[in-house]
């Protein structure tokens, strides 16, 4: 032991140095082998995003194309779910990445107002103006200045179901909430399982609330609530919470042990080899997990239906996305954002699967399968499109494992107390968060 420890300690820097060397080599290879010195030859751009694994690989493909086009070298940094914390510490240290892809407009607004972001200009601003509808341009704008270009978007108003369970019960996808309740009851009677609600992940519950609230209260009220212009004790919020409680706490309506269930596990519980439930609500990214499980085929054994209408509400879609923002004023950063906002980048990423684009010039044929194509069409043709409310809120309220909205809805799922009481607690937390921001 006594002699092993120093040897080990001595070996560490060597290993680290070797790894660093290999990484540097790997990072240099595309730039040096391309041979065609582009306009940015010899420059290095650092981009930070949350993606890891398959999503990181897909993003890398896009970055590789950029490297070939321009001769620049792109270094990718994965920040995981705590990306805002990473950016804050890098800012404090004076070396932010050149470009960051951020999911929460709330965070973008905060960074922009602190002066940590560079407004989009030149080719980046042109690409955004050419390729995106005003709604998306507006979402990338803070106080009248354009800061963000939406690279990837998601469709959060679909419910996924197991086709064989619906067949066994002789059911068709519901279109209204009343039909949805009837479908849930019939599934219970058939004994094939009902709805999985992964309550261990707070963000899933906020998405549930947002879909119900948008349909019950309408887009105007939704916008007001997103800005905290109406309090969370508003009767419409209480009504939405009541509807959620009636469903979540109903007899046999959802899979047991919901508050211990994680999202990835829930996908396996619905689309895995030993299914426990027949339905799962979450966004288009469920397809990635279904593909990874490989038990049922997308579009064949696993399909989706639009979130049912409540009280005759018209079709509405909740969306979210990752916008590219510039954190340094280097031309290479702008060039990368311009590329990410281009139709070419969207085509490359779409072909990888598990990706939706808000780019209006993207040919739907670029998507690899009909299910993704349907999702993209439903998203781009949606007449009423609203951004994820919890992502718009200050991070302390809406985003992160410790956010009050996540925690309060989780507590509500575990112990369905009175909706008025939860609304009161939400309002208290919202007031604190909006004052603090």
């Amino acid at each position: 032991m006594g002699s092993a420890a120093p040897t080990h300690a001595a070996a560490m820097p060597v290993v680290a140095a070797l790894t660093g060397f290999t990484l540097t080599l790997a990072a240099c290879t595309p730039g040096t082998t391309s041979g065609a010195p582009g306009p940015l030859a010899g420059q290095t751009v650092e981009v930070a995003a949350i993606w890891t694994g398959a999503e990181q690989a897909s993003f890398r493909t896009v970055l590789d194309t950029f490297e070939r086009r321009t001769g620049a070298t792109v270094r990718y940094t994965s920040g995981g779910d705590d990306l805002p914390a990473l950016l804050n510490s890098r800012l404090a240290g004076g070396s932010p990445p050149d470009v960051a892809l951020l999911g929460q407009p709330g965070v973008v607004a905060e960074l922009a107002r602190r002066g940590a972001l560079v407004p989009l200009t030149g080719p980046a601003a042109e690409a955004v103006a050419d390729n995106y509808d005003p709604d998306w341009r507006e979402l990338g704008t803070v106080d009248g200045t354009l800061y963000g270009a939406y690279y990837k978007v998601s469709h959060k108003s679909v419910i996924w179901y197991r086709v064989d369970a619906f067949d066994q019960a002789g059911l068709a996808p519901p279109r209204t909430w009343a039909e949805h309740l009837a479908v849930t009851r019939t599934l219970t009677e058939a004994g094939v399982g009902t709805m999985a609600v992964p309550g261990a992940d707070g963000w899933v519950l906020t998405d549930w609330f947002e879909n119900v609230y948008l349909r019950l209260a309408g887009p105007q009220r939704y916008d007001q609530l997103a800005e905290h212009a109406i309090p969370w004790t508003h009767p419409t919020v209480v009504a939405a919470l009541r509807l959620l409680r009636d469903y979540w706490a109903g007899e046999r309506t959802i899979q047991e042990g919901a508050y211990q269930l994680k999202f990835v596990q829930a996908v396996a519980d619905v689309f895995g080899a030993r299914p426990k439930s027949a339905m799962l609500y979450e966004g288009d990214f469920v397809t990635v997990e279904i593909g990874r499980l490989g038990t049922v085929a997308l579009g064949d054994g696993a399909r989706f239906f639009a979130w049912p209408a409540i009280d005759g509400s018209p079709p509405m879609v909740i969306t979210a996305g990752d916008q590219a923002v510039a954190m340094t004023d280097r031309p290479a950063a702008m060039a990368l954002i311009a590329f990410l906002a281009s139709t070419e980048a969207a085509e490359i990423a779409a072909a990888q699967g598990g990706f939706l684009s808000a780019n209006r010039h993207l040919d739907p044929a670029a998507y690899p399968d009909p299910t993704t194509r349907d999702l993209a069409e439903s998203l781009t043709t949606a007449e009423i499109l609203r951004y994820d409310l919890s992502d718009l809120a200050p991070p302390a309220f809406g985003a992160g494992t410790d956010a009050s909205m996540w925690r309060l809805l989780q507590a509500f799922l575990v112990e369905p107390e009175s909706p008025e009481e939860v609304a009161g607690k939400l309002e208290q937390a919202a007031r604190a968060a909006w004052e603090g921001s």
Partner: protein, 433 residues
């Protein structure tokens, strides 16, 4: 020849300073400056722009979440070191008396080589609620099911308005008489729970006694009628049927492959048919280890797993130092092993046990990674400790002021234990030649 002591002392002091300088530099930059800076930051607002005095400390002591963390920390400090020390003592005394002691100690000490992070991930699997994934619940369910057989049709029930009653999980008919055909349509039966030998449900013909059928009354939407045996619906074999009269069970039987049952020797009326709750009890799933109620004890369990080996090794060393003769004398004088442990070993070992317990208490106060990894998000509010609050406040809520205040509180709580440890070490140093 006499030397004056003055210059020597001065030179000694200078030499001491030279030798101490690197250490002072390291301690100063890495320990002292951060402590002062943290204390300073704790007096400022969340982004450090405004001086707020002790407001962060008031927040700290009044907010429900930090109070929960403080009370959890108290439970941790009291329970975890005690359990670890007691277990360590037991292991030490027991392994002291067997031949391959080293092998045992090695196995018990092994968890120490695993980081809290890895231990947390491992125990997440051990504590998983689903018995098909969680090891602990799998074991509990296996033991439970070997005493109580799992029910054949878990979760089955009847439709509202079917004329049947559900009481305490059992399904009960109204009054029936001999000669009646009793129909018991069940729903919420999983398709794969129906055994392969079950045949299509056709109501039995009338006959003597009480007879009837239990079947899965579910046909795909739009093809079946509630309460009637439709084509494709199958009988449920193996359901325990009881016939009651005036609340007393007068006959018991099982359904056959068609779902039929009959008790031919019954005459007259005033009977009722009951399907016992044991037919339908949901499978036993074990305990929700990481739910709000059990999460802290469960995390402590994994902490004990990691540290018990350490306590054992330290106590074993102490055990080797106490005079064997004393123990032998006690045994010769007729003391039982229990008495030897209580009256001789423990009193002699008191200083070692205290050192172990206090070291662990200091260690437990700053517990963080195990809770972060092991507690599911939905139970983190119930499992929270000061270390976790400090992390979330500083890095997720970006409130450096309050986060620093928690750090200062934690530091203050650790101080007495550290001071005591330092004193013990110094005393030992003085005692030794």
């Amino acid at each position: 020849m006499r030397r004056r002591p003055g210059p020597w002392t001065r030179r000694n002091r200078r030499a001491a300073l030279v030798f101490l300088a690197p250490l002072l530099l390291v301690v100063g930059t890495l320990v002292l400056i951060p402590i002062v800076q943290t204390t300073w930051t704790s007096l400022y607002s969340e982004d450090g722009s405004r001086f707020v005095g002790l407001a962060n400390y008031v927040d700290l002591l009044t907010s429900a979440q930090t109070r929960k963390a403080i009370s959890n920390n108290l439970v941790w400090v009291v329970v975890a070191p005690t359990v670890v020390t007691v277990l360590g003592l037991l292991f030490a005394v027991l392994t002291d008396r067997i031949r391959q002691a080293t092998a045992f100690r090695l196995v018990l000490f092994m968890p120490m080589a695993i980081s809290f992070l890895a231990a947390g991930v491992t125990f997440r699997l051990v504590y998983d609620e689903d018995p098909s994934r969680g090891m602990l619940n799998a074991a509990i369910v296996a033991v439970h099911d070997s005493f109580a057989r799992p029910s054949p049709y878990p979760g089955a029930t009847v439709r509202d308005g079917s004329g049947l009653r559900v009481s305490d999980g059992a399904i009960l008919t109204g009054e029936v008489a001999a000669g009646d055909v009793v129909l018991l349509p069940l729903v919420a039966v999983a398709p794969d729970a129906v055994p392969d030998h079950a045949t299509e449900a056709v109501a039995p013909p009338p006959g003597p006694g009480v007879r009837g059928m239990v079947w899965r009354d579910f046909a795909p939407e739009g093809t079946g009628r509630a309460g009637q045996a439709d084509p494709g619906e199958r009988g449920l074999p193996g359901v325990a049927v009881e016939v009651l009269r005036d609340g007393e069970v007068v006959a018991r039987t099982l359904t056959d492959a068609r779902g039929w049952f009959s008790v031919p020797d019954l005459v007259g009326g005033g009977y009722a048919v009951r399907l016992a709750a044991a037919n339908f009890t949901p499978p036993y799933q074990g305990l929700t280890w990481l739910g709000p109620g059990l999460v802290t004890p469960a995390i402590m369990g994994s902490y004990v797993w990691v540290w018990a080996g350490f306590a054992m090794v330290v106590i074993s060393a102490g055990l080797g130092a106490i005079p064997r003769g004393t123990l032998e004398n006690a045994r010769v004088d007729g003391a039982s092993e229990w008495q030897v442990l209580r009256r001789v070993t423990v009193p002699l070992m008191r200083p070692v046990l205290l050192v172990v317990a206090v070291t662990l208490a200091v260690n437990v106060l700053k517990i963080f990674d195990l809770v972060l990894v092991l507690a599911p998000e939905s139970a983190q509010a119930d499992a929270t400790v000061l270390g976790l609050e400090m992390y979330h406040t500083t890095f997720t809520k970006l409130n450096a002021g309050l986060g620093s205040a928690i750090a200062v509180l934690l530091f203050t709580l650790v101080l007495p234990g550290m001071a005591w440890r330092a004193r013990v070490l110094r005393r030992q140093g003085v005692a030794r030649p």
